[in-house]
Structures are given as structure tokens and as C-alpha cells.
């Protein structure tokens, strides 16, 4: 079972087409292993991306350097998954 300890989901709000283009380029950086839960589409609409723990620093530095607004939607993905697992086991018992 793959784990996601320390992975975060960022809520990113690109202001304009240029910032959306930067996000699309970021998605193409395969080594970052970004998992877009909600793709950037329209300026002002939020995009959601799961960022593996090892890439968080690089991604946040990139967003800040480009002046792209973001917030942390999920602090640690694995915490939610553990809770989900717990509930499934509880239910099965």
C-alpha cells in the first residue's frame, strides 16, 4: 500500500493566463510527481494539487517566486487516509 506521509494538497489561485501557463508547465515536471486533483482552468478559479513531501519546498518557492497565490488545503494527506482506513476497519468489525 502506497503511503502519502507529509504530502500536502495546495489550493492555488492563478490570477491570469500566464500564471495558468506556469502551472501547466509545473505539472509537466514529472520529477515533482504532482497530482492535480483539480486542474487550473480559468483565472481566479482554484486549482488543487497534491504535492509529495519531497517536492513541497521546491513547489512553494516556485509559486512564491512567480507571485502565484496559494494556501495549504490538506496539511498531511496520510492523516486523512489513516482516518478513512480506521473507519473502514471499524465498520467491518
Amino acid at each position: 500500500q502506497e503511503t502519502f506521509v507529509g504530502d500536502q494538497v495546495l489550493e492555488i489561485t492563478p490570477r491570469n493566463e500566464e500564471q495558468i501557463k506556469h502551472l501547466v508547465e509545473l505539472e509537466a515536471e514529472e520529477h515533482l510527481q504532482l497530482d492535480f486533483w483539480k486542474l487550473p482552468t480559468i483565472p481566479g478559479e482554484t486549482a488543487h494539487v497534491r504535492v509529495p513531501f519531497v517536492s513541497i519546498q521546491a513547489v512553494k518557492v516556485f509559486l512564491e517566486s512567480q507571485g502565484i497565490a496559494y494556501s495549504t488545503m490538506i496539511e498531511d494527506v496520510q492523516v486523512l487516509l489513516d482516518k478513512e482506513n480506521e473507519e473502514m476497519l471499524l465498520n467491518r468489525r
Binding site: 500500500q1 486533483w37 483539480k38 486542474l39 497534491r50 488545503m73 487516509l81 473507519e87 473502514m88 465498520n91
Partner: protein
């Protein structure tokens, strides 16, 4: 085994438990509910549809969930909805009149291989589990694999991408099984597919941003459905054609069903009212299912009252 009638909808379930609940439902309502096999997945898991029918060869409504494996709340909502349809028949005038005139087909797990993989190996898995020749990557995005603008913008030709459209339209046996069923049935009048998340109610087109011929009617029905949904827990939905509400996406389900003449083709993106994305806490399954039901019923009533 789960004893009759106390299936815990407040929790997520394995594929086996879902399958057992489908059997239980068919056993509880023998005159109304039956299980129909429409094929099998790449890893040979059965694709079983629940058929709600009062007999005869009627026009029908199709509802499916879980095409993107990791969106568990859609499978859970579909199962709750199955129970609601069965228990409301004969009690709720609206559902009774719908089922006296039309059949309902409901496929709770459209992507069984992906669902099992998301429960056993990788919770983030979204695609099918088919092997792509010439690539070490696995799986195709089944919502880009339909023969509607296939391979166009909004889908990737990279097998490692989460929106990989596949080697050709209907390459995924899960998609092909539904295509064959829809074509052989021939009288499907509404097609509704449940995704999550973002609270969107969308209709064709996705592969192009031109307006469909039935734009006005579909928009009106979708607005009404979204208002019904919001009336219960205040969950706000955005309504419109796929292309303008989110993005241009080629090869999507409802573009194909609409191209087959199924006018009432809708895609739901269910709730995330708490910023959990598709990792919605299990405690929100029932509220999500209850509000979605009001929208589904609105669409089914419109379909019943506007035969074509």
C-alpha cells in the same frame, strides 16, 4: 455477511461488500430489482448493473458512478441511491410513476479494477488498470476513452498521465461494455454519471465549446436540479457545459451518450464542502447522497414528462 437491511452507509466499503449489498437488494425487492451483468473489467471482475423494472420493455434511465476509482463518495452515493429507489417505489408518487413508465439501470462501480487498486495499493489511483503496450505505465483515464472527439484537446497521449486517453476509443473494456449495452438497449433516454469533486452539474459538450442544440433545455433542467440539491444542505453547485465550466475535455462519457441521441446526458461532480477533495470524510456520505438524490429525481421527472 451483512445481514439484511443494516448496511452501514456511513462508511466506505470494499468491492465485495458493495457486491453483497447489491445481492441483498435484489433479494429484498425481487419484483423490482435484479442484477444484470454487462461485461467484465480488464482484470476479469464482473461489471454488474442493478436493474429497477416493473416489467416490459420500457425506455430507461442510466446512472453510473466511480469511473474514476479514487472518488469513493460516488460509489457510496450510488449504493445509497439504489436503496432509495427500491424503498421509494410504491411509497413516493414521483418514483412510482417514473418506474411505472421507465426502467432504471444503476452501475455503482464503473471501474472495479481501479477501485480495488485504490483500496489495496494506491488510494490516489484514478484510471483503469489495463496494460499499455510499449509503456511501463498502467491504465487509461476512462473518461477520455469514449468515441466523442477522441484524442482531442484536454486528454493526454502519454500513458503515464492521469488523463491518458488510451490507444484508441473504447480501448478500455469497461467503457466498451457500457457502449455495447447502451447500443443494444437502444431506448436509454437519460444518462447520468457521478464524479467527484467540485460541486458541478454539467452537460455536453466537453470536447468543444460550441453550444449543443439542446443547450437551453439542458441548462434549465440542470439549474432546477442544482436548486433542488441546494435546498437540503445548502451545497452550492455550478451549472453549465463541461467545456466552459471546467475545461475542454475530449472523449468524455456524456459527449458520447449525447452523440447517440441521449438528450438528457449529465455529469455530476459531487461535494467537497470541507476542502477534503475526494477524500470526503465518511460522515458526509449520507448528506451527499441525500442532496444528490433531489437533483437526480428532478432530472428523472423531467425525462419522464418530456418523452422523445
Amino acid at each position: 455477511r451483512q445481514r439484511n437491511g443494516n448496511f452501514n452507509f456511513e462508511a466506505y466499503h470494499t468491492l465485495e461488500e458493495i457486491s453483497q449489498e447489491m445481492d441483498t437488494l435484489a433479494a429484498q425487492y425481487p419484483g423490482l430489482v435484479s442484477k444484470v451483468n454487462i461485461g467484465q473489467s480488464f482484470e476479469k471482475r464482473p461489471m454488474n448493473v442493478l436493474k429497477f423494472s416493473t416489467g416490459g420493455d420500457k425506455p430507461a434511465i442510466w446512472l453510473d458512478a466511480g469511473i474514476h476509482a479514487r472518488e469513493w463518495v460516488t460509489q457510496a452515493t450510488a449504493l445509497w441511491t439504489a436503496n432509495k429507489i427500491a424503498s421509494d417505489y410504491g411509497n413516493d408518487p414521483s418514483i412510482t410513476s417514473i418506474l411505472d413508465t421507465m426502467d432504471i439501470f444503476l452501475l455503482p462501480v464503473t471501474n472495479p479494477d481501479g477501485y480495488v487498486f485504490s483500496q489495496t495499493k494506491n488510494r490516489m489511483w484514478r484510471k483503469t488498470r489495463s496494460k499499455v503496450s510499449g509503456s511501463f505505465c498502467v491504465g487509461v483515464d476512462p473518461n477520455r476513452n469514449w468515441d466523442a472527439g477522441f484524442g482531442g484537446p484536454g486528454a493526454s497521449n502519454n500513458p503515464c498521465s492521469d488523463s491518458y486517453h488510451g490507444p484508441h476509443a473504447n480501448s478500455e473494456v469497461e467503457v466498451k461494455s457500457i457502449v455495447d449495452f447502451i447500443k443494444s438497449h437502444g431506448k436509454i433516454k437519460a444518462f447520468i454519471t457521478l464524479h467527484s469533486y467540485s460541486q458541478l452539474l454539467m452537460f455536453p459538450y466537453g470536447y468543444t465549446c460550441t453550444k449543443s442544440d439542446n443547450f437551453d433545455e439542458l441548462n434549465e433542467v440542470a439549474q432546477k436540479a442544482a436548486q433542488s440539491l441546494a435546498s437540503l444542505h445548502g451545497t452550492k453547485y455550478k451549472v453549465g457545459p463541461i467545456c466552459s465550466v471546467i475545461y475542454q475535455a475530449s472523449g468524455s462519457t456524456v459527449d458520447w451518450t449525447y452523440s447517440q441521441g441521449i438528450k438528457y446526458s449529465f455529469t455530476f461532480e459531487l461535494r467537497d464542502t470541507g476542502r477534503y477533495g475526494f477524500l470526503l470524510p465518511a460522515s458526509q456520505i449520507i448528506p451527499t447522497a441525500q442532496e444528490t438524490w433531489l437533483a437526480l429525481r428532478t432530472i428523472m421527472e423531467h425525462t419522464l414528462n418530456h418523452p422523445y
